[in-house]
Symmetry: C2
C-alpha cells in the first residue's frame, strides 16, 4: 500500500495535535510525518503511533517530498507558506480562512462536495484545498441531504460556540477564569474581549461593515460556496459560550417543498457523517458532552417550524476540533488519495 509523506503545519496547536490524532485513529497511510511549527515550538516532541517525532521549524524549504500538507497555523502564515508547499508538489489542505473564498481553491466538506477537489488538483490547479470554518462544516453536512430532497430557500442559524474554537488560549482562559471565580480571584480577559467564564459573548471574529461579525459572514458565504448555491439566503448569529469543546447550532430552515420532520429524520439517518440523536421525551438530543471526540455531527430536536409552512427547526452539535477542523481535513486527504492519487506527489 502506498504511504505518503504528510506535513502538519501548526503541529503544536490544538487543531494540529487533533489532526495528528485523527490521522493515527483513521489509519491514514502516513509514511513519514513532518510536524512543523514556529521557532518557539522547534524541537518539541509529538507522539505519533507510539513514537516521538521532533517538531521542526516552518521554512519555505520545509516541504521537499511532502505529498499532503495539512495547514492549521492561522491565515497569515497559511497565506505565506501554502504556496511554498504547493510549489514543492504537495497538495495543501488549509484550515485557515486564507483561501476559502478564492475561486480557484475548492472549499470542501467531503460528504457534500468532494467533486470540487478536482479544481485544485487538475493540471495547472493551485493545489490548495480550503477546509471550511468549523461552524459551517457541521451545518452543511445536515443541510445537504435536506436540500437535495426539498430545496433550501432560507437558513437562520444561532450558534453556541465553545472556547476551543479560539485555540489553546481560549481553553486556558475559560479554565483559569472559572477557577478564579470560585476562589474570588481576579479576572483579566485576554483572548476574549470580556470575561467568558459563566458569561457569553455575541461576538466571534472582527466586526464587518454590515453589522455582522466575520464568523457570521463566513457562515453565510462558505455555506453558499460549499452547497453551490451562491444566492442562498443565510443569516447567522455567532455566540461564544463558556463550554470547552463542541459547537452547537439552532437552525430554522425554509424549503421550497414540504418536508416533514419524519422524512427529514430518515434522510439524516441515511446521510454520511451524521448521527440522529432525537427523542425529546427521553431527554435524548445533541449536546456538547455527547458529541465531544466524535467524528460525526449530531442532529436532533427536529420539528416543524410552527411559524411558517415548509420549514423545520433543528439543533446541531459537533466537535469543532474534529469534524469542524481535523477530521474534515483528514477526510479531504482521504478523498484526494481515493480519487486523485496520481495528483499527489508530483515531485
Amino acid at each position: 500500500m502506498r504511504k505518503l509523506k504528510v506535513a502538519i503545519v501548526g503541529a503544536t496547536g490544538v487543531v494540529g495535535r487533533e489532526m495528528i490524532k485523527v490521522l493515527e485513529e483513521r489509519e491514514f497511510p502516513v509514511g513519514e510525518l513532518v510536524p512543523l511549527a514556529s521557532e518557539r515550538s522547534e524541537g518539541q516532541k509529538i507522539e505519533f503511533r507510539g513514537e516521538d517525532v521532533t517538531v521542526r521549524r516552518l521554512t519555505p524549504d520545509s516541504f521537499a517530498g511532502v505529498e499532503i500538507a495539512l495547514f492549521s497555523p492561522g491565515a497569515t502564515v497559511s497565506r505565506e507558506f501554502a504556496p511554498h508547499a504547493a510549489r514543492a508538489g504537495a497538495v495543501v489542505i488549509d484550515n485557515s480562512s486564507a483561501f476559502r473564498m478564492e475561486a480557484d481553491c475548492p472549499l470542501v466538506v467531503p460528504e457534500v462536495n468532494a467533486g470540487d477537489l478536482l479544481l485544485a488538483v487538475k493540471p495547472g490547479g493551485r493545489r490548495i484545498v480550503a477546509n471550511p470554518n468549523c461552524s459551517t462544516i457541521q451545518l452543511v453536512v445536515v443541510l445537504k441531504p435536506l436540500h437535495d430532497a426539498a430545496t433550501l430557500t432560507r437558513v437562520i442559524v444561532s450558534t453556541y460556540q465553545s472556547v476551543s474554537g479560539a485555540g489553546q488560549k481560549g481553553i486556558d482562559e475559560l479554565e483559569t477564569q472559572s477557577r478564579a471565580l470560585f476562589s474570588l480571584g481576579e479576572i483579566t480577559p485576554s483572548k476574549f474581549a470580556h470575561r467568558i467564564a459563566f458569561n457569553l459573548l455575541p461576538e466571534i471574529g472582527p466586526a464587518t461593515a454590515n453589522g455582522y461579525t466575520e464568523e457570521e459572514m463566513k457562515m453565510t458565504n462558505e455555506t453558499r460556496k460549499i452547497l453551490g448555491l451562491p444566492d442562498l439566503p443565510v443569516a447567522a448569529t455567532c455566540v461564544r459560550v463558556p463550554i470547552f469543546y463542541c459547537h452547537s447550532e439552532a437552525a430554522n430552515l425554509t424549503f421550497k417543498d414540504p418536508l416533514t420532520p419524519a422524512r427529514a429524520r430518515e434522510l439524516l439517518k441515511a446521510a454520511p457523517g451524521v448521527k440522529v440523536v432525537d427523542d425529546l421525551a427521553q431527554h435524548i438530543y445533541p449536546m456538547p458532552m455527547l458529541a465531544v471526540g466524535d467524528n460525526d455531527t449530531h442532529v436532533g430536536r427536529i420539528r416543524t417550524d410552527i411559524s411558517q409552512p415548509n420549514s423545520l427547526v433543528l439543533f446541531v452539535v459537533s466537535d469543532n476540533l474534529r469534524k469542524g477542523a481535523a477530521t474534515n481535513a483528514v477526510q479531504i486527504a482521504e478523498a484526494l488519495l481515493q480519487q486523485h492519487a496520481s495528483a499527489l506527489g508530483m515531485h
Copy 2:
C-alpha cells in the same frame, strides 16, 4: 401616603427573595410584609429594610388583610392558593404558569400592556394577574416598540438561558458540578436531565406533542397574548447554558414594513425598560455579566437580516430573576397602585 400589606408566597425561593429585594429598592409602599412559604421554611428570618421578618407557613387563611400577594411558589401551589388570596380581597400577581393562558387572567408586562390589568380588577374580575415567563418578558419589551412601528409578521428566537431559571437547585447544581469537574469529582445530574457544567441542554420544560418543549410553547403563546396578536407566527428554541444569571436571546424578526437598524435603535432607545447596548466594533453588546442585577432589558447586535427583506436580527439579554420575574411582578404592583388603587384592599 398609602401603605399596603403585601404577601410574598414562596418567600424563601430565588424569585421570592428577589421580589423582596426589588420591593425595597423601588421603595414600594409596603406597610406590612408577610413572607409565606412551605412548612419546611416556616420560622426562617428574611431581612426587609434592615429588619428581620419571620417566614410564616402558607395556609388558606394567610391572606387576611393582604392587598397585594406576589406569588412565586410553582404552578401547583399557585393554582391552590391564589384563589384563597383573591377571595380574601388581595390582588394576586402570580409568577407561575398556572393562570397565564386563562382568558380572564391578564398576562402583563407593564411597558407593553398595562391596560390589560383592568380585566383582573374590574368588578367581578378574578383578581389574578399572571406574570409571564422570563424569556417571554425580555422579548416582548423589545418587540413592542418595533411592532408598533413596522408590524411584526414572524419571530424566530433561540435562547441561552441561565440555570437560575430553574431556581436555587439549578444554581447549586452548576456550581457543584463545575467545582467537581476541576477536582475530578463525580457528577450526578439531579435538577437537570444531564450534566450542565461546561455543557448545554436544548431542553427546558417537558416535551409537548408537537416536538417543542413547554418553555418554547410558552414563548409562542405568551408573546401572542401579551402583544394581543393571537396569530403571530413565533418559533422558539430554548437552550439551558452553563451560566448562573440572565437569559440571552438571538432573535430574527420579520415585519410588514421596512425598518432600518438605525430606526430600530432609535425606537428602542426611547422604549421604557430597554437599554440599547450596541457598538460591535468597540466590543459593546448585551452580555449576562452586564445585565445581571439590572432591571432593564439590554438589546444590541441590531442589524439587517441579510437573508430576507424587512427583517432584523438582534440580541437581547436580561436578568431573568429581575425583569424576567421579580421586577416585572413589582412593576405590575406599581401599575395596580397607580391605575387601580381603589381596587386594592377590598376587604
